[in-house]
Point group: D2
Chain length 502, copies 4
Amino acid sequence: MSLELEGIHEECGIFGVWGHPDAARLTYFGLHALQHRGQEGAGIVSNDQGHLIGRRGLGLLTQVFPDESSLTPLTGDRAIGHVRYATTGSGSIENIQPFVFRFHDGDIALAHNGNLTNCDSLKGELEDQGAIFHSNSDTEVLMHLIRRSPEKDFMAALKQALRQVHGGFAYLLMTEDAMIGAMDPNGFRPLSLGQLPGGAYVLASETCALDLVGATLVRDIGPGEIVRVDDSGYSIERYTDQTCLSICSMEFIYFARPDSNIYGVNVHSARKRMGARLAREAPVDADMVIGVPNSSLSAASGYAEAAGLPNEMGLIKNQYVARTFIQPSQAMREQGVRMKLAAVRGVVAGKRVVVIDDSIVRGTTSRRIVRLLREAGASEVHMRIASPPLRYPCYYGIDIQRTSELIAAKKSVEQIREAIGADSLAYLSLDGLVDSIGLGRDAPYQGLCVAYFNGDYPTRLDDYEQGFLASLTPEDRTRLEASKGSYGLDMPAGSGQKINER
Amino acid sequence: MSLELEGIHEECGIFGVWGHPDAARLTYFGLHALQHRGQEGAGIVSNDQGHLIGRRGLGLLTQVFPDESSLTPLTGDRAIGHVRYATTGSGSIENIQPFVFRFHDGDIALAHNGNLTNCDSLKGELEDQGAIFHSNSDTEVLMHLIRRSPEKDFMAALKQALRQVHGGFAYLLMTEDAMIGAMDPNGFRPLSLGQLPGGAYVLASETCALDLVGATLVRDIGPGEIVRVDDSGYSIERYTDQTCLSICSMEFIYFARPDSNIYGVNVHSARKRMGARLAREAPVDADMVIGVPNSSLSAASGYAEAAGLPNEMGLIKNQYVARTFIQPSQAMREQGVRMKLAAVRGVVAGKRVVVIDDSIVRGTTSRRIVRLLREAGASEVHMRIASPPLRYPCYYGIDIQRTSELIAAKKSVEQIREAIGADSLAYLSLDGLVDSIGLGRDAPYQGLCVAYFNGDYPTRLDDYEQGFLASLTPEDRTRLEASKGSYGLDMPAGSGQKINER
Amino acid sequence: MSLELEGIHEECGIFGVWGHPDAARLTYFGLHALQHRGQEGAGIVSNDQGHLIGRRGLGLLTQVFPDESSLTPLTGDRAIGHVRYATTGSGSIENIQPFVFRFHDGDIALAHNGNLTNCDSLKGELEDQGAIFHSNSDTEVLMHLIRRSPEKDFMAALKQALRQVHGGFAYLLMTEDAMIGAMDPNGFRPLSLGQLPGGAYVLASETCALDLVGATLVRDIGPGEIVRVDDSGYSIERYTDQTCLSICSMEFIYFARPDSNIYGVNVHSARKRMGARLAREAPVDADMVIGVPNSSLSAASGYAEAAGLPNEMGLIKNQYVARTFIQPSQAMREQGVRMKLAAVRGVVAGKRVVVIDDSIVRGTTSRRIVRLLREAGASEVHMRIASPPLRYPCYYGIDIQRTSELIAAKKSVEQIREAIGADSLAYLSLDGLVDSIGLGRDAPYQGLCVAYFNGDYPTRLDDYEQGFLASLTPEDRTRLEASKGSYGLDMPAGSGQKINER
Amino acid sequence: MSLELEGIHEECGIFGVWGHPDAARLTYFGLHALQHRGQEGAGIVSNDQGHLIGRRGLGLLTQVFPDESSLTPLTGDRAIGHVRYATTGSGSIENIQPFVFRFHDGDIALAHNGNLTNCDSLKGELEDQGAIFHSNSDTEVLMHLIRRSPEKDFMAALKQALRQVHGGFAYLLMTEDAMIGAMDPNGFRPLSLGQLPGGAYVLASETCALDLVGATLVRDIGPGEIVRVDDSGYSIERYTDQTCLSICSMEFIYFARPDSNIYGVNVHSARKRMGARLAREAPVDADMVIGVPNSSLSAASGYAEAAGLPNEMGLIKNQYVARTFIQPSQAMREQGVRMKLAAVRGVVAGKRVVVIDDSIVRGTTSRRIVRLLREAGASEVHMRIASPPLRYPCYYGIDIQRTSELIAAKKSVEQIREAIGADSLAYLSLDGLVDSIGLGRDAPYQGLCVAYFNGDYPTRLDDYEQGFLASLTPEDRTRLEASKGSYGLDMPAGSGQKINER
């Protein structure tokens, strides 16, 4: 889980239920399955016959809901919940979701997973018109747009608002009489509808949450779709026809839980295929394969089986250390205090090892892993990465927004190898990634967003465009501008493949 | 980690350091590597030029030491620490260690891992002589014995006290001018001495803690040994010559971290060998091997490689759920809310799976696992257990003290198979276990305690003897009494192999 | 302090400072002097070179700011703070002030003491225009009005907004470059400007806060005034000329601290005069005078001196009991468990006592006091109230909004006497009250609001008018309608004495 | 309450009940009435059919028992409780009482108010015999003595133990079948037995706690008495006949609540008499009398009435400030930030005031009060102290153990007057004090301990004797040695008046 170690974070998980007598508790359990998507904060809003009741707080679900009494007030048979991703320092209760808005004509709760590309512009415009924002979050913008819509009907106003926000988003709303999910036109983030044995409907960021609560998948919510659940059942419609699937490939590589399925593809199996493909693309003569726990264990297993090598537990992760605020002194670090990962000397000593990791962000974790293994006696350390080099930021909801953080934006593979001290280094090819996931859709990259690897963003970048261009090397800029017409920065409005254009 | 799910717990981990400028912080990190040995409480006592300063509390290390300021007062270059095992309800701050005793002639801190068999008798005798106890713990008894010893010299008094306590124990003491570790005559619990690059000495329950702080193993502390570390270095001596190694085999099977070495045996590798031996003892025609996360993954890997089957991630553990106090309602449970373990449908559907687990306690977890896998579509579920059937309580520090909790005490293997609903079930043989661990010592069972499997306790049971005999079936009782002379309940005093006899 | 016992509460205290190097700390101390005005919550916002930094929370100041580290982040030489009044259950962090609003064109903090009469209408109108409110508080309305004002200049926009809100208010704002206080056109709530020895300016709800921080009074902020403090000093102007002083008489009777001065009148001395006047209006043949602690001790002292009777401590208040959430069982109550007040048997046994209290709300406390004194052996208990009967709600910031709670709205003085079980009962006359306070202003009731006693509200009631009329007896309604022309419900717009009319 | 401001503290309050269905709750309320005797910590131990259940913690009662659920586990119809006095820094949970001791032959809970003079000697002896102490408190010593007593019968063992401890103590014990109170041979601390309407018995440090729970006084527990309450009722006996009443005079001067009675003397009335006597002993030509709130208000009232002067509220105490951990900076202090006391300008400006305070410890508070009053415009400030100069430490339970802290130990009255800046200063005479309290007993000083004023300690000082002698001036030493024979340091053993001699 080197990504976690280096601080790339998913932005949030959402879960909602309609029609279960203990809706808040079910949401609590559903959010547990999504806790890996956000550990900064959590909240649940229940709907008791139209009355919305919320509780939210900083920290893990178990901190926000420490005991039964914390759930007791959340009565009603409908609820939505949210887990928020972890950052350092910015954590403020104002930003914890779901937000509850109370109006004289009814209450609305809103939660959000994703990132808008035109949020700043919209906020500026709205403030100039007198709007007051209470959070840093992109989420609030949607509510202002809904409330200012001239449309009288709520669904019409919502659709109009959705057409104004650009970027990646999966919204989850609870009004007095409906639960609504809405997906951006590219379907960047996963969202699935499920049904419980008793008939209640469930919306969740990942199918692992459906499984945990015992729900059956009804279907994934696709690009540009709105799903509305109320007492008459569910209905799905589209608020735009300018859609094109480009779901975040990092969900398959790192974020999603291995037991989740996205558009029918099991994440663990996709990772095994990435590992197997990597074994074929970049074989190595070695004694054993080692996966970096926990996110790279599937890929390591795929590599080992394809390579015919034993798959060993040569690295161990300290599961309890996640949330310590106490750090080793510099002297201790130099003496080798190793908090999060340990190499197992008895396994690796004297061996030539292939280490499988899902990705390299800054390179510091990889360097540490190589050093740990060498100190534990490994005779050779070959690093194999089960995805292509990360070179560009994400603007749709993953917390990598600066090119300068990415080692592969500045260095060649050989330079990276040298920096991390490995005997050899290889990455999975982009084609290898796309084929291993195997969505098989009739869309660019089979329906995946792979912009982090090749800069080919499937939408305009709006407020981020200037900064992005400024961060590029001249060659990159030339290359990306040449890609106009299929994907890129300067897309003509109305192009069939393009979306988010009015 | 089915044992964890069913509530068998190790009693505690200990860590100490002598001669490092930031001793308390180093102890904090050392305890992190031992956190799996106890999550109920933690404490650290530092020694600043003879002045002992302590902090202890309920919960995980990160809860007891939430921030830098919690370590700041623990100045000095010597410290000892303790993590305490988790039970429900009995958690009381009085029992959290290390204990600090303040006397007009100096302070002493004391921590303890293990269980005494004659604690109640000793406490009763001491109380009749006016002693007052402040905790439920076995630990305090030792201090009363030391203080009442007629010996003037502290080390002499300590040795006299150690000869009076029976059972399993690894004591760690901090006096004003020395750090002392003491092991019971059987060496039931692991304890290792290490040295840091700068020369400081470290004592830890497991070598993984030495690794985490960058220390090199000096040697394991053996049966009946006392190690004393002071400013002149370390010395090791024996307080009794009636010793016989019988280290707890459950350390190898379940408790110890896979990256620890015990008497030179790497735990992960031992587990792989148990899995491989199990594959030979109990093969099965199947499509894949699945380990129960996290403790059985090593054994599963060994089984898969020996059997030539793919090793898949068919079960996933929800790592965040450990400490929730909110439970699903009965209705939710029946609908299938699954908090801790999930089966990965995309992996197991339609497959014949071999599930490897380290042990079965009550059988409830195994039954749940079988059901999860069947619901996820597995066509056959074969359970293989990488240790022999658990049939007898432990009196030396593991929290299984009632035969009635153990399904294998009451049922045959076939009856257990039926109870858990598996297509087949097999356990590793006792010989298989002993050989796989491979201590190779010239002692019964190669130096292991395997009493949980065969009732062959390596010491008198003292206060527990009556209860143990009462819990046996008549046949068992006959069988165990017949084993007199080698191991058993009625050992003649002074026997060479026997220890703890006065 | 019977009012406190029965649940009448002031709405809030405010404090601000401009130009002191440790502004947040000074605000902390200033708020301490105002803690009696609000115990539900507290907050401080500092201004560090234009950057606003806030902290707020539920509970007392010492709970919200438990230690130095809670003040440390609030850097800067300018700050405003707020203490919020205590209610049961409604306490929600969203409503704790000061609010901080962050706009692309700068931050503004806002705190408020008072109640608007047209808040609901304004909120409805604003929501219909797309505004979103995040709190229940009246405070937020002002910010929406400011932001929607067509005026470009902030002060002009603020004045326009202030002319739209009706009722009682003292607002305190912190912009990036100024601290601003604003008073409603009637000056219902007290607000004073002071100056520290070093030159810094201070705004506070009461002069006791000026005294605590060592500031000298500059002057009280009067009806319709805005005071602006910035780096060039302070300036005061009026945003309306339709003003008429009618400061809340309850400030003199009960709320304000005895060491505060309001428009030059010392509160303690005013209370002594009320007591002395009451002694003349309603003398009684008795052995001693007893004040109900703590708020009635001044009045009792005035009564005793005027009557020539000893002033005794016959009732004692348990100062620590204020915030317990544990209540006596009904059986204990019947057995006489007395949590808050105790009668001193050694003082009152066998005596004829005159008890002075500041007011009677529901009568339950008075009944309890009479019973306590009789049980302690008092031979006669004469109750004297140092204000007129409370018969009408307050709509300007005191938490008595329902006539049905007021015993004097439904019962005659003789009926109240019977209900509370006193030997005699008398209230201070309205003239007696007005003269004792002695503001001596050329305004109705010498510049006091006495509507709680006679229903003569100095403004329109706006959103409350319907409810108020519905709560009246027919006679009362006739009487109050007859008072039109001087004060009342149906005032012609533009009348010289009237204010808040556009 | 200048004593509180300067840090003299009572050591603890105790409360117990036998035979009430909700004993822990009743104890909670009883302790509320005693909260003024200790704010550092609190605890309650209930006895449910012989099973003792305890809860204790740091802080106020409302912090230790924050809600109903904190009392719920304390079932049973018998309970004892304790509030512990406040000191800075030394607060440690180990020292919070009641202590619960669990023995194989039954549980015992123990609480204590007082201080032993031979505690250190006893602890040293006991440790040499192997005893282990877990707290700093004097309390534990008694339990060790009981357990080591050769007496088989508990009451006999207790009496033997009580004869070994010297000094001031009121012990409260709960065994499985009895509640026991024990008083030292001088009756230094107050303790009263009461009875509830339903028949239950109550023991409390002050009668105000009896009043709060609705109990009637049965009788005070006198010197050398043991009261035992069990299901057969209560019995009182003496464990020594070497008794002589010398109850702490500071209870009357400062500690006890004004509504308490001690040996039939109402504390408020005693204080009024001290004030009246002081008016006669030290009259002054002035405009008004001002009491220092809260403890000196009774004395001020007595002074004013005797002097024919108005009694005014010229000083006000900030009741909320008690527990802040945030302090004004030095600059703020110099600028006049006044946290705890404020002078009321409107009352004192231009007036000649007599300030009544109960005592002067270091003089810092008096100096501050004089300055506050002068800054508020008082033209003359005359300080009158309603007790004699404090010159000697207390060794029986009041936290003044160093002569060097006492301004009157080093300075004459005129020097103190100069130091505090008053226009005049006078103290009540020792005879005035003794007569005003008016116990009227046939014992030295009518049964009061007045050693703080004249050094005439009613017992040997044991472990403190050396330090006390060393702290004396040569003259004092000569004077005190001359007083041998009546009271003093060198009393012959067995003297009729003397006690605590074996």
